[in-house]
């Protein structure tokens, strides 16, 4: 170990960083630089998508239309979803994968560095196309991120731009996934068998396969929209012998695995953080891996639970109801394992642990409403209401987004070499956690009381909870401004971080110096380095 450190220190001055701002960031093939690019991009998109959400909550603050024309409102909900899913959450996970997978498996870089650069630099172009739709004749896409025909075919000039943007995002995701799979399969340090990999690496491996499986399906679906609109085909047009419901089947065959693409890496992150701050190895490591794989498998056979009201045959409704309920089993296993990891641990509550604990509770609430939504007859009442909005925001915001926040607070000292302002980080956490519940919990009530989603104005009996929800929304949005401030401070300076950073931290990335050198593990480490210090997966099996 000492040797590696010395070598890294000696190389600090000539680490072959490209010179100049553009030379460094535009042409970089370094996994850490590309990881940073992804994370910065994701943060920008998070605030852009968030500002759209603020506009939506401002309009919904009270009944009556105050600010937004209904068409613009629909554009904002559509763009909010597309930006948050494809611009904020997915690139954040790819950024984390870039930074961490090579360091965690003892690889010098990603296996395909030039493709890595390409897959990132596609994204700014994709989102330029998507955002350009706000300024074209007919306005931006307003048919919802689900793009159901025939409605979406009423979009103006924005339609082809949106479709090409989605093609580009899909290409970027597929390349990113290929890179992750090739890296994990080929560049692991000697002795790191699959069942010794950190859980974050495992969940990303499975996620990458999901992405490769379903992004082409989405590309196919939107291409059919394109040909229906411009080339006279009738895939989704009943008058021409097509079927508008077929789009929904194809879309959700992509869409449901997509949901897990946005949560499996979060599971991986939480599985890293909880053992560290419990000072105890993850309970049931093997079960966690198998549960993740089961969730991924089930994600392919449950898609039509998004479509219980389209009028499917009884047999289909029964099948999709039962298959969806099955997901509760592996998800339950994961939650029980995380809880049991804390049992008989020695817990401390640094910021990453706070986010992980909030994840456990609040993601579970999203899981409960998910179980309720699986019950087809009850879903007739929930479908397309604010109950669904509350459900998926619980799994995506205090689920995926909180895990990403936790990950940044966990690994930031390793990336920058500095500790961040713990007090400010705790403020960020507590404000976010309180406001996210004020924002989304009342939406359950609104949905049950009968408020449909995607409406710019509502009947007066929905006024009270909407006002509460909007106040929560503004509070949550403002609290997030602390995040870039805190990161900026941490990049600029701060107390020197130790190599291990957290007392209970365990894994190859913590054996590297802080900040991690530009090139790390240029020689494959021996897993023997893990045997000192904190307990590990290695002791298992």
């Amino acid at each position: 170990m000492a040797n590696t450190e010395h070598a890294a220190a000696a190389h600090d001055d000539h680490d072959h960083k490209p010179h100049g701002f553009w030379g460094r960031w535009l042409t970089t093939t370094n996994h850490k630089d590309i990881g940073t690019l992804y994370l910065v991009f994701s943060c920008v998109m998070f605030f852009l998508g968030g500002s759209f959400a603020m506009a939506i909550r401002a309009e919904l603050f009270k009944p009556g239309l105050q600010f937004l024309d209904p068409a613009l409102f629909n554009t904002l909900t559509t763009m909010h979803a597309l930006i948050m899913i494809f611009g904020a959450v997915m690139p954040a996970f790819v950024g984390l994968a870039n930074w961490l997978i090579p360091m965690q498996i003892g690889a010098p870089d990603m296996a395909l560095p030039r493709m890595n650069n390409f897959s990132f630099w596609i994204l700014p172009f994709a989102f330029t196309l998507l955002l350009a739709t706000l300024f074209v004749p007919g306005g931006g896409p307003a048919g919802g991120w689900t793009m159901y025909p025939p409605l979406v075919l009423q979009t103006g000039s924005a339609l082809p731009l949106m479709i090409f943007a989605i093609h580009l995002m899909g290409a970027s995701s597929i390349m990113g996934s290929i890179n992750v799979i090739v890296t994990i399969m080929n560049l692991r340090a000697p002795g790191m068998t699959l069942l010794r990999m950190p859980l974050f690496v495992w969940t990303w491996l499975i996620t990458a396969y999901l992405l490769i499986a379903v992004m082409p399906v989405l590309a196919g679906a939107v291409t059919m929209l394109l040909t229906d609109h411009f080339f006279g085909t009738s895939f989704f047009n009943a008058a021409g012998g097509g079927d508008p419901v077929m789009f929904q089947h194809i879309f959700w065959f992509f869409g449901h695995p997509e949901v897990y693409i946005m949560i499996l890496p979060a599971f991986g992150i939480v599985s890293e953080i909880i053992p560290t701050f419990s000072r105890k190895p993850l309970f049931g490591y093997d079960a966690m891996v198998y549960a993740t794989a089961s969730i991924a498998f089930l994600s392919f056979i449950v898609w039509a639970h998004h479509m219980f009201t389209v009028g499917m045959p009884l047999a289909s409704e029964l099948f999709f109801m039962l298959s969806t309920m099955l997901i509760a089993i592996p998800t339950g296993v994961k939650v029980f394992n995380w809880s049991t990891t804390m049992w008989k641990g020695s817990l401390s509550f640094e910021p990453p642990m706070l986010w992980a604990i909030a994840f456990l509770f609040l993601f579970s609430i999203g899981g409960f409403s998910g179980l309720m939504l699986a019950i087809a007859p009850a879903d007739f009442q929930y479908q397309d209401t604010y109950f669904v909005v509350a459900h998926f925001h619980y799994v995506l915001v205090p689920g995926a987004v909180f895990a990403i926040m936790g990950a940044v607070y966990y690994w930031l000292p390793k990336w920058t070499g500095h500790m961040y302002d713990m007090k400010l980080a705790k403020w960020h956490f507590w404000l976010s956690t309180i406001f996210v519940n004020v924002l989304f919990f009342p939406q359950h009530f609104l949905g049950l009381a009968g408020m449909p989603r995607r409406i710019p104005d509502y009947a007066t009996q929905f006024a009270d909870w909407n006002m509460v929800s909007s106040i929560g929304g503004f509070g949550f949005g403002l609290s997030q401004l602390l995040f870039p401030l805190l990161i900026w401070q941490c990049v600029r300076g701060g107390a020197k971080a130790t190599d291990r950073v957290w007392e209970g931290a365990h894994g190859l990335e913590w054996e590297l110096p802080s900040p991690a050198p530009y090139h790390s593990w240029t020689e494959a480490p021996s897993l023997a380095v893990l045997e000192h210090g904190a307990p590990s997966h290695d002791t298992h099996g």
């Binding site: 508008p244 009028g311 307990p535």
Partner: protein, 278 residues
């Protein structure tokens, strides 16, 4: 046990329930309406069954987590048991117990689901057609048809910057010029379709939400309790364009006799109007 707990919650939410009260729902509503038919009540009980299961599981799981968070703190001197890696017996239990719970949920859910598809014995058929942005209703055997659009007052008040306070408009956004009139105590079949994009016909009091899809016809049925005469409101539930939020559904439930009378008067009007129009 379930019915007792559900009843408590009904009591708590009595003010909110739009059960027989035709007036607008009260503010701060927390829960779903039990509705006005045996089917809507069955769905409501399923919802409450699921809700209480979730509450029960949450109490156990969150309780376990909270206990750990309090009991095993480093600051109070807790030492980690680093040998605790897995436990096959416990893991089998927490895989099998959820399976049993899920089965206990799936059985009643499947039973209700089968009933929702049982259209046998419907005495009256109404075709529901979604348009951007209104609903059309046709009573198939009597040739009566109704076009139902957002009422004038709501339509003025909802304009951007109208200056009209929505609170002054009765049933803001939930009232129409011509409601859908239906009889209580009769099994009614709906044939639901659309002329343009996909809409979704939703009346919470009936627990019916069914998509209206161009080129396809979906079926649904309801049988309202004979004593639930009154007005019930719903909305389009599938995003259908600019005015998706402004195509409400109003259901006027009449007694069987009143309904027959209404239908007859509509037929007369239609007959008188027909030659004039021709």
């Amino acid at each position: 046990m379930m019915t007792k707990t559900s009843r408590i919650s009904i009591a708590a939410l009595a003010a909110a329930g739009s059960m027989a009260a035709p007036a607008a729902q009260a503010a701060w509503t927390l829960n779903m309406t039990p509705g006005i038919s045996a089917m809507s009540r069955a769905i409501y009980s399923l919802h409450m069954l699921m809700f209480w299961w979730c509450v029960g599981i949450a109490v156990v799981v969150f309780g376990f987590m909270i206990f750990s968070l309090v009991r095993f703190r480093k600051s109070t001197g807790a030492v980690a048991d680093t040998k605790m890696l897995h436990n096959t017996r416990v893991e089998i239990v927490w895989t099998l117990v959820p399976v049993l719970i899920l089965i206990s949920m799936a059985v009643p859910a499947a039973r209700v689901l089968v009933q929702t598809e049982d259209l046998a014995g419907a005495k009256l058929t109404i075709r529901v057609t979604g348009y951007q942005w209104k609903w059309g209703y046709e009573y198939l055997d009597s040739g009566v048809s109704v076009l139902s659009t957002l009422d004038r007052d709501s339509n003025h008040a909802r304009e951007l910057g109208s200056g009209i306070d929505p609170n002054t408009v009765p049933n803001y956004l939930l009232s129409v010029d011509h409601p859908l009139v239906v009889p209580a105590g009769v099994k009614v079949r709906l044939l639901i379709t659309s002329q343009d994009v996909i809409h979704s016909w939703w009346v919470p009091a009936l627990a019916i939400k069914k998509d209206a899809i161009p080129g396809f016809i979906n079926e649904a049925w309801f049988d309202i309790d004979a004593d639930k005469i009154g007005t019930y409101r719903g909305q389009c539930a599938e995003l259908c364009g600019r005015d998706h939020g402004f195509m409400p559904i109003v259901l006027e439930v009449k007694s069987k006799q009143d309904f027959e009378q209404w239908l007859k008067s509509q037929q007369e009007t239609a007959k008188q109007a027909a030659p004039a129009a021709g």
